[in-house]
C-alpha cells in the first residue's frame, strides 16, 4: 500500500530553494526603505511560501498544496492592489516614498527607532515641514510652502 521514506534530494532542494526565496524577501523587507520595494519583497516571500506548498503537495500526492497556492495568489493580488493605493495616498502627503517618514506615527514619549544621523538629515525632510502632518480635513490652510505647489502655472490646484 504505502511506504514511509525520507525526502529525496529533488524534494529537499526544492524546499531549500523555497526557504531561500522566503529569506531573500525577508532581507529585502528589513533593509529597503522604499515603500514599493517593501511590498515587492513581501511578494517574494509569498513566492517562497507558494513553492513550499506546491512541493508539499507533490510529496504527499495531494492537490491541496496547489489549491492553497491559488488562494495565496488571490490574497497576494488583493494585497498588491490595496498596497499600491495606500502608497499613492501616502505619497500624496509627503512627496516621498521613504518608510522612515512614517515613523512619526509613534507616541510622543517613545524615542525614534532610528537616529537622525543614521537616517541622513536630508532624507528626513518632507515637503510639509511647517505644518502638522495630519490627514487633511476641513478647510485648507491658507498659505502653503512654495515647494509644495506642484504646478506653478496653476496656483489654484494645490496638492493637499
Amino acid at each position: 500500500m504505502s511506504e514511509i521514506t525520507p525526502l529525496n534530494y529533488e524534494e529537499l532542494r526544492s524546499l531549500m530553494v523555497a526557504a531561500g526565496l522566503f529569506v531573500l524577501g525577508a532581507i529585502g523587507f528589513l533593509t529597503r526603505r522604499n515603500l514599493i520595494l517593501l511590498v515587492l519583497s513581501a511578494e517574494l516571500m509569498l513566492h517562497g511560501v507558494s513553492l513550499s506548498l506546491v512541493t508539499f503537495g507533490k510529496i504527499h500526492q495531494n492537490q491541496e498544496g496547489q489549491a492553497f497556492t491559488i488562494f495565496v495568489l488571490t490574497v497576494a493580488a488583493c494585497e498588491a492592489g490595496l498596497a499600491l493605493s495606500l502608497v499613492l495616498a501616502l505619497y500624496r502627503q509627503t512627496h516621498s516614498l521613504d518608510i522612515r517618514l512614517w515613523s512619526e506615527l509613534r507616541e510622543f514619549d517613545v524615542p525614534s527607532p532610528v537616529s537622525v544621523d543614521a537616517a541622513g538629515a536630508s532624507s528626513l525632510t518632507s515637503g510639509y515641514e511647517g505644518i502638522p502632518m495630519l490627514t487633511p480635513a476641513g478647510v485648507q490652510p491658507r498659505e502653503l510652502p512654495k515647494t509644495v505647489n506642484a504646478d506653478p502655472k496653476r496656483p489654484d490646484r494645490t496638492p493637499v
Binding site: L7, T31, L40, Q63, R92, L97, A118
Partner: protein, 278 residues
Amino acid sequence: MNEWMQQHPASIGGLVLWAIGLLWLMPSGKSDKARPGLPGILLAAAGVVAFCLGAGRGVDTLQSEVMFWSFALTALVCGALMITSRNPVYGALWFALATLGTCGLFMLQSAPFLAAATVIVYAGAVIVTFLFVIMLAQQTGSAGYDRRGQFGIPAVLSSFVLLGVVVYELQSAPLQINRPETPKVAEVGGASGSRDGGTMTSPPALPSPDAPINPPPPPSVPALLSRATPETPVGSMKGLGRSLFGDYLFAVELAGTILLVASIGAIAIAPRREEGAL
C-alpha cells in the same frame, strides 16, 4: 549539529558565500558611486549553487537537472538583485524575472496550471501596476533612500541564521513521508500527467490501462476530492478543479468576496483628482 556541519560542508559554504555576496551587493550609500556588482553576483550565484548541492546529488534525467538549475539560479539570483537594486524600476523588473524562475520551479513540481496563472497574475498584472506607480510617484530617478538601506548587516545575518536552521532541520532529520502507492504517474519526468502544460520535460508515462486502482484508504482528513488518483494526477486541471470546487468551494467563494472588497477598498483609498493630483 557538529555531525551535520561535517556531513554538509556545501550547505554551510553556500550560505556563507551567499550572505557575503548579498552584503557586497547591498546599497551602502556612503558615496554615490556604486560598487561594481559583478563580484557580488558571482559570489551569490556560487553560494546558491553550493547551497542547492547540499541537498544531495543524483541525476534523474538530464533535462530535469538542467531545468532545475537554471530556474533555481534565475529565481534566487534575480531575487538577490531585486532586493539590492538602487533603482526601484530595475527592482520591479528583477522581481519579474524571479517570478519567472519560480514559475519554472512550479512546472518542475508538476504544477503547470499554477505556473501559467502566476505568470499572468504577477508578470502580467502586478508588475505593470507597480511600474505605473513607480513612474507616478518617483519621476526624478533614484532617491537618497534608495541608495542607502537600513540595518543591512544585522538583517542579513539574522535571516541567514534562520535559513541555516531551516536547512539544518531539513537535512539532519529528514521528514518521513508516508507515500501512497499511486504517485508512479507523476514521478516520471516531474511534469505530471497533464498533457496541456508539461511540454518542457519528457512526456510522462501514462498509467497502464489495466493498472489496479487502489481503494482509497480510510479518510484521515475530510478532504477526499483533493487526493491524487491515476485519473487526476497532481497538478492536472481536472484534479485541481475537483479540489477547488469540491473540497474548497466555500473558500473559493470567500476568495471572490475578498477580491471584491479589496478592489472597492483600493478605489476608496486611492487619491482622486479633485483632492489633489500627484
